[in-house]
């Protein structure tokens, strides 16, 4: 005998209890601590902070622990927490020229003032599984050099001295904030950059890759990639000046793209820009390429129907929290709609069979 399905509440409670048990895993294995994740899975923490739009390594590490290592789920936890936080003020724009660089490379010049600094990169590691790490993860302390104390100028500024690269206008306007205002199109560059910074690493990477493979080709050089800490300053109205409230680690990427010139402008280089939290250079480079691709309209160059040139397509689909939510929601009950579809399909089939029957009879 059929009884109407009841017990949704108990099912949910049981599911949550089971989930907690699975998250912990085998209890004979030591539990992972939040500081362990923060220190030893730092690149995952960086991604969660970047796409979660919240600079807090401890909370990001906690989110990774809670989400069992599902980074999109961790990003979601951070976003949901972030949206409840009060806004105390806006920091001043960070000065990346004063960044204490752990890593700083330019692909466009052999050497640059301030030097090329490889830093802690996978770039030239041979991707051989290190079986020793399975038993013993201790590492020798790396050699230290004296830190550079003076500001490190941006590589693109050198090109600027010759007028070879398009100057970016400085603006004192408060940039729009898509976490506080609904996104409206066309978006200005600041809004696009915000969306891309929060955007899914995989999506932005693939969009950038598509421009390299010819879908809206515009060859990009990495003018500069730098990673390091910068000070964050906040204007305090009561004091009348800005004070440093802390520091954040950033990855900044500026790409340089050739521009053949137009009727009103001489040939010069143009830029793409990427800025992300922590060491997240794949994302920062991808972001710079997509930023440049989305500027094709304002620059009046290489217009195409390529996806990466389509602002609406990129901005509406780059957010992985929106995407995964809508994608996964199709596993929720839809039986009412499915019922109405079944009735329609049955009705249309019946009519077709009746017509065929009639035809055959004639």
């Amino acid at each position: 005998m059929y009884v109407a399905v009841k017990g949704g509440e108990r099912a949910i409670d049981n599911a949550h209890a089971w989930l907690a048990e699975e998250r912990r895993g085998d209890t004979s294995v030591a539990e992972l601590s939040v500081p362990q994740i923060r220190e030893q899975l730092a690149l995952a923490v960086n991604r969660v902070m970047t796409e979660g739009s919240l600079y807090d390594p401890d909370l990001a590490a906690l989110a990774i622990k809670q989400s069992r290592g599902d980074l999109i789920e961790a990003i979601f936890l951070i976003r949901a927490y972030r949206t409840t936080l009060p806004r105390i003020g806006h920091s001043r724009p960070v000065e990346t020229e004063t960044m204490l660089c752990d890593r700083r490379i330019s692909a466009t010049f052999k050497d640059v003032p301030g030097g090329q600094v490889l830093g802690p990169t996978f770039d030239y590691t041979h991707r051989l599984l290190d079986f020793k790490l399975a038993a013993d993860g201790e590492a020798m302390a790396a050699q230290m050099a004296a830190p550079r104390l003076e500001p490190t100028p941006h590589v693109t500024e050198f090109l600027n001295k010759e007028g070879l690269i398009q100057t970016e206008d400085r603006s004192e306007d408060t940039p729009p904030d898509l976490t506080r205002e609904p996104m409206e199109l066309p978006a200005n560059r600041a809004l696009r950059l915000q969306a891309l910074a929060r955007g899914d690493e995989g999506f932005v990477l693939s969009m950038a890759y598509s421009t390299q493979r010819g879908y809206g080709n515009s060859h990009a050089f990495v003018g500069e990639l730098r990673i390091g800490k910068v000070a964050v300053e906040l204007d305090i109205p009561e004091l009348g000046f800005a004070i440093e409230i802390g520091e954040v680690e950033l990855t900044e990427c500026e790409t340089v793209n050739k521009f053949a010139g137009s009727k009103i402008e001489p040939p010069q280089f143009t830029r793409g820009y990427g800025l992300t939290f922590g060491q997240t250079e794949r994302k920062a480079i991808s972001m710079a390429l997509v930023d440049r691709a989305l500027r094709s309209k304002e620059l009046g160059v290489e217009m195409s129907n390529s996806p990466a040139h389509d602002e609406e397509f990129v901005l509406y689909h780059c957010d992985n929290i929106q995407a995964t939510g809508f994608l996964e929601h199709i596993k929720l009950p839809h039986y009412v709609d499915f019922q109405s579809e079944m009735e329609l399909v049955r009705k249309m089939r019946a009519e077709i069979f009746a017509a065929q029957h009639k035809e055959a009879a004639e």
């Binding site: 976490t179 929106q322 009705k347």
Partner: protein, 288 residues
């Protein structure tokens, strides 16, 4: 739960949402952009509806939450619990005693009254979306009242299939102006949208709110020679015998045997309590 504000959202956010709601009520069927927040449940789980409900609730309200017409579906339970926890308001399964009803995919069978608010969860608020994917284009089409594309689509359905091949989220025209997506309710529910209660629609991911004020004309799009047909399964409810309600088809054995039961569980239970019986109702002895 003192860590969060009443009904979770902070007052500034609620104010922003209420403004969007008021604008929506002032322009029936118009999609008002609003700065949707990240909620503690995923997009697609009803974040738009939850934000609208949060902005409408007062401590005196009584809330009912349904999904697929039922109060006990998992996500309805989850949303109801969320508001019990964050707003400590009274909840009910009775359509008549609720002041705010949040729904996904159904309109209750019992007619709603003045003073009630029906909040719909909306996945894609744009009725023209599957005809034109660009928001910049569809906003223009609404502004110019350019709905030819939709009529052509409906016409092509009839030409090709003999029917308008839309069975849920069936487009409506509100007060003779805006074409609106009624959310994915079965078209059976469309005629109920001419009602005494306030209807609010929240689309969280798409950042849109729209509304139908009480006693507003809501017309399902059709043609004179192909009038709108709010169809349902041709069967009475096997539990309460109702012939006028929307039915779920439930598979009950391995041979594909099936029965039909009201999708609105509260309505069905109410009828059974009044002594109505369907042909598969438990016998009196079995029920005891």
């Amino acid at each position: 739960m003192s860590d969060y504000n009443f009904a979770y959202l902070d007052e500034q956010t609620k104010r922003m949402i209420r403004r969007a709601i008021l604008k929506g009520i002032a322009i029936p069927g118009y999609q008002v952009p609003f700065a949707s927040r990240e909620m503690p449940m995923p997009y697609g789980w009803g974040t738009g509806g939850v934000q609208v409900t949060a902005a409408c609730l007062t401590p005196e309200d009584t809330l009912k939450v349904i999904d697929q017409g039922a109060d006990d579906t998992t996500n309805a339970v989850s949303i109801r619990k969320f508001f019990e926890k964050t707003a400590e308001i009274a909840v009910t399964e009775k359509t008549g005693t609720a002041t705010v009803i949040q729904t996904r995919h159904r309109i209750p069978e019992e007619p709603l009254a003045e003073g009630q608010i029906l909040v719909y969860q909306v996945p894609i608020p744009e009725p023209l979306r599957f005809l034109e994917p660009r928001e910049t284009e569809t906003r223009k089409m609404h502004a110019l009242e350019e709905y030819g594309l939709m009529h052509v689509k409906l016409y092509e359905d009839i030409a090709r299939h003999g029917h308008i091949a839309t069975s849920y989220a069936y487009p409506v025209k509100v007060e003779g102006r805006y074409v609106m997506d009624p959310s994915p309710i079965p078209k059976f529910d469309n005629p109920k949208m001419d009602m005494a209660a306030i209807q609010l629609f929240g689309a969280g991911r798409e950042q849109r709110i729209y509304a139908v004020p009480p006693y507003t004309k809501v017309v399902s799009l059709d043609f004179e020679d192909h009038p709108f047909d709010p169809s349902k399964a041709d069967h009475p409810c096997d539990l309460c015998g109702a012939e006028h309600t929307y039915l779920d088809e439930v598979i009950i054995d391995d041979d594909g045997g099936r029965m039909f039961v009201c999708s609105d569980t509260d309505y069905c239970a109410g009828r059974q309590a009044k002594g109505h019986r369907g042909c598969l109702s438990p016998t009196e002895e079995a029920a005891q």
